[in-house]
């Protein structure tokens, strides 16, 4: 679904230390008309978020330097990030022990592999709606 007046293009931050995974997401998001910035670790994700001011951040949980959970915690503390939609990417269930403390910080949870239909629909929904932190609406890949 390409951007339109009802589904505006988003600035999307992708943070994943797996180059192939990050690249796959980047390509898909750009094909769907969104602007993408890729970060390879948690520290880079924080810097990129401050510079890029994304609408949406897809954060892999297990990353070097800072986990996706810690990135989320610090992003939520920054001024002007109230509308930032945070999505946790995990290969395991979002109720796995390391993830649990960070759950309230995220708007959505998605698992790899990325179901393309669900992911595309999610981006369309995210582009026209704002979601409150802690909302666990149905997420793609679950």
């Amino acid at each position: 679904m390409l951007p339109s007046a009802d589904f505006p293009a988003l600035r999307v931050l992708v943070a994943d230390d797996e180059p192939d995974h990050a690249e796959s997401l980047r390509i898909l998001l750009e094909l769907w008309g969104h602007e993408v910035r890729v970060a390879r670790d948690g520290a880079e994700a924080l810097t990129a978020a401050e510079q890029f001011q994304p609408h949406l951040a897809l954060l892999d949980f297990n990353m070097p330097k800072l986990s996706g959970g810690e990135v989320a915690r610090r992003l939520r503390q920054l001024p002007g990030q109230e509308d930032l939609v945070l999505v946790l990417i995990t290969a395991n269930a979002e109720d796995a022990a390391p993830v649990v403390p960070y759950r309230p910080l995220f708007n959505y949870f998605i698992r790899k592999p990325y179901n393309l239909t669900q992911l595309e629909r999610f981006l369309a929904r995210a582009s026209r709606a704002s979601v409150e932190p802690g909302d666990t609406d149905e997420a793609p890949g679950t």
């Binding site: 995974h21 390509i27 094909l31 769907w32 592999p113």
Partner: protein
Amino acid sequence: MGATLDLDELCSVLRACDVIELDDCTPAYLGDFLAERVAAAEPDLSVKLRMLDGERMDRLCECIKAAHAVVR
């Protein structure tokens, strides 16, 4: 008929799909996605993928789904 892939190229395509999951219908953007994924490492394959006609892209999509059913 359009371009065809050899086995090595098919393997490259399957590896490029490592982190995605396909549903029943072939996404209209699948060819572009695959072409972009392999472009840096295999530019000739990237060109071939952009030349695949609809029928071959559908078959490729089915092949990818079948492979995922085996390895996941």
